[in-house]
């Protein structure tokens, strides 16, 4: 597994300036053989609450779960959980993990046929069972898919308390089918569990969604990669955000590593590239001073995989200090885009059309400027974009719930900026 890290920044600061920004691009070639360096455990959680009977959802979910099982590589440990008012293990026997083979995959497929929709929704209990099963395989690349179609029925605060105990133990990709589930609820799970959230509006699209998630999971070859950020004395990390392929704020996930460094979990890695925005506040320097504002290392345990340096150089040459770094500017805009869309959706739900129009207008402008076509198209389902360049939009009178949820869940998707100064 070869990793490279590269920092993009304008290292020049005006005298008195203390904020240092850099985009760090981390790229991995994947393992040399394409083989995992660790074992892998996959758990598929399918909501089997009564509402899943509607629109043929449970039948589509069965088919999707079978497709996901078919994607499992030989040797991967796996289990299926039926999500009702409690968590029930559908396959293999309760408390056990199966080892993927043609035989066990066929057995799992038969088990899936026994999945019937009747009962409640208890996401905390489902995830807790998944965590207990995962605990049998420490060091594995641990990943779960969770499908639901409704609100969590557990008492308030229970899901949060579960997330607190299991955060970082495995990754969870959440999918909501239909439009009766809450984006904020699944986003809470995905954020805590370093996963993704998306809407699958039509049950018939579930199979493709499951195959895509499982294929991506099978492509991961390293289990637990972390970003270690060293900063000098009297400096503070303002934030660490993943900004590509999607925005995810990692600032609160910091775990101290000695007096001057902190580790931020990045989850599992395959052959892929991700961008991180690191912002550090440093003490001011004199003209000509050069400071290492942050040493960014990609680590797996005690193993340093690659490193990038974020520097600060103070100058009174305004031509240097006012240079805009394209990467930093671009991703600052992409993060603002995600926040603005979510604020617009909140305002629209609260009936504040004025604020919603302003927010969606700004979002349309940001999406247009940065060439984020996918987000522009999603915005156009919620507002009529009259002039993207100036951010002139009009709220649509009738907006399909699925469109608004798609805009909400996908607002964090970013696009890359062209490289080179």
């Amino acid at each position: 597994m070869t990793y490279t890290a590269e920092a993009f920044q304008n290292e020049f600061l005006a005298l008195g300036a203390t904020e240092v920004n850099a985009i760090v691009t981390v790229t991995s070639t994947g393992s040399a053989s394409g083989q995992r360096t660790a074992g892998a455990t996959e758990i598929i959680i399918v909501d089997a609450s009564g509402s899943m009977q509607a629109e043929g959802r449970i039948a589509a979910a069965r088919q999707a779960a079978k497709a996901a099982v078919a994607c499992l590589d030989d040797g991967v440990h796996f289990a299926l959980i039926a999500g009702v008012g409690t968590a029930q293990q559908l396959f293999p026997a309760p408390g056990q993990l199966a080892v993927s083979s043609a035989q066990t995959r066929a057995e799992a497929t038969w088990a899936i046929d026994r999945l019937h929709a009747s009962g409640g929704t208890a996401m905390g209990a489902w995830l807790l069972l998944a965590a207990q099963l995962m605990a049998q395989r420490p060091g594995d690349i641990a990943h779960a898919i969770m499908l639901t179609d409704g609100d969590n029925g557990e008492r308030a605060g229970y899901l949060e308390s579960v997330l607190e105990t299991i955060a970082g133990k495995f990754a969870v990709d959440c999918r909501g089918v239909g439009t009766n589930w809450k984006v904020s609820e699944l986003r809470k799970i995905a954020d805590a569990m370093l996963g993704t959230v998306d809407i699958v509006a039509r049950p018939s699209d579930l199979t493709a969604a499951f195959e895509q998630m499982m294929t991506a999971a099978m492509g991961k070859t390293s289990a637990d990669v972390q970003l270690k950020v060293w900063t000098p004395v009297n400096a503070t990390v303002r934030f660490v955000k993943q900004v590509e392929p999607q925005v995810a704020d990692l600032t609160g996930k910091r775990v101290a590593d000695g007096a001057r460094a902190g580790r931020y979990p990045l989850g599992s890695w395959g052959a892929e590239s991700r961008d991180y925005h690191v912002c550090v506040d440093v003490p001011p320097g004199a003209a000509g001073d050069e400071m290492l504002a942050a040493r960014i290392s990609l680590v797996e345990g005690d193993n340093v995989l690659t490193q990038a340096l974020v520097r600060a150089v103070w100058t009174d040459d305004a031509a240097l200090s006012t240079r805009i770094n394209r990467q930093v500017a671009h991703y600052t805009g992409q993060a603002e885009l995600a926040e603005t869309i979510q604020a617009g959706i909140e305002a629209r739900k609260a009936g504040d059309d004025h604020t919603a129009t302003i927010k969606f207008g700004r979002a349309a402008q940001l999406a247009h400027e940065s060439g984020n076509k996918a987000t522009s198209e999603l915005l156009a389902t919620v507002v009529e974009i009259e002039d993207a360049a100036t951010g002139t939009v009009r709220l649509r009178r009738k907006v399909a719930a699925a469109d608004e949820m798609a805009l909400d869940t996908r607002s964090t998707k970013t696009v890359r900026v062209g490289r080179g100064q």
């Binding site: 020049f12 900063t231 000098p232 004395v233 009297n234 400096a235 001057r260 440093v282 320097g285 003209a287 000509g288 001073d289 050069e290 400071m291 290492l292 504002a293 040493r295 340096l309 150089v313 103070w314 100058t315 009174d316 040459d317 080179g420 100064q421």
Partner: protein, 310 residues
């Protein structure tokens, strides 16, 4: 008595290396900014305060005793020293090269270092034009290597080179780094003519003072680099009649002493007050820093006397 930090062996005071394990006994360097002992990490930054402990090129000196001396200094305003120098002596022969990286290009510090090394390696033959041409080729090649941003803004620099062979001096240059002849008595002479906008318009009849005040004054019209086109180095040669000093410098010094008479007065004051060549060169760099240190400063001093034979 001091113990070896690596193997705890006692040793006699003053030894440079541990007798047992062979490691250096020098105290671990302390950070020049915050004073933390052993604080400087492998990448040159202090593990405590994060400051770069020091760049080698920030201040360099070459002391060839009574034969020649040179100093290059970062100055006060630039974040790194983009000037470079080369000084080699063989008995009465002196090879000297000064180069100033063009700040608006990418990796100008690499350009200047490449230029002095290429020219320096070639100038021993005494052929200054060939030496500068070698530097031109080497600097132009930089655009195609290293950081891809070099292609968009190729590394570029000036050059002034001199070969002193007894009482014969040959000077060649491209750009606005200068050579002066400062005789012990009498008026000084600027041996080079800047390839700069100011020099160009003054030659066309513009008022010199006004031209030098123009923001474009220092814009150079010829340089070394992939985008420089075909530039023929200009040269001058002379045999000294009276004793004096050959002075090569970058604009970090001469910009504070634009009048050759003032330049000569400063050089003479430095030589008179300091006694040695190296301390005089240091004094001149300090002079520029005291005046503002707005640019990197490089100065080389080479005393030349007429041959004793009549």
């Amino acid at each position: 008595m001091t113990d070896c930090a690596s193997c705890a062996d006692e040793r006699t005071a003053g030894a440079a290396f541990c007798e047992v394990c062979g490691r250096s006994l020098a105290a671990e360097p302390e950070c020049p900014h915050c004073g933390t002992p052993g604080g400087v990490g492998e990448d040159g930054y202090c593990e405590h305060c994060g400051m770069l402990a020091g760049r080698e090129r920030d201040h360099l000196e070459t002391d060839c005793g009574e034969v020649a001396a040179s100093v290059t200094d970062r100055g006060l305003r630039h974040h790194r020293n983009e000037d470079a120098m080369w000084l080699v002596t063989r008995d009465a022969e002196v090879d000297v090269v000064v180069s100033d990286g063009v700040s608006s290009s990418f990796d100008p510090d690499v350009a200047s270092l490449t230029a002095v090394q290429a020219a320096g390696a070639s100038i021993a033959s005494g052929d200054v034009v060939a030496a500068i041409q070698a530097a031109q080729v080497a600097v132009a090649e930089l655009a195609a290597s290293g950081d891809p941003r070099r292609q968009a803004s190729n590394p570029a620099c000036t050059i002034v080179a001199a070969a002193v062979r007894g009482d014969a001096v040959t000077v060649g240059w491209i750009g606005d780094s200068r050579a002066y002849w400062v005789p012990d008595v009498g008026p000084a002479e600027q041996l080079t003519e800047d390839d700069s906008w100011a020099t160009h318009v003054i030659a066309l009849g513009a008022d010199p003072e006004q031209a030098m005040r123009d923001p474009k004054a220092h814009a150079i019209t010829a340089w070394l680099g992939a985008d420089a086109g075909k530039v023929t180095p200009r040269t001058g040669e002379f045999v000294v009649g009276d004793p004096g000093h050959l002075v090569l410098c970058s604009d970090g010094l001469w910009n504070y002493l634009t009048d050759p008479a003032a330049f000569a007065a400063a050089v003479r004051e430095g030589l008179r007050e300091q006694g040695t060549l190296i301390s005089a060169a240091r004094w001149l760099a300090d002079y520029a820093n005291t005046a503002g240190g707005a640019d990197n400063i490089t100065v080389a001093l080479i005393p030349v006397s007429p041959s004793s034979k009549e």
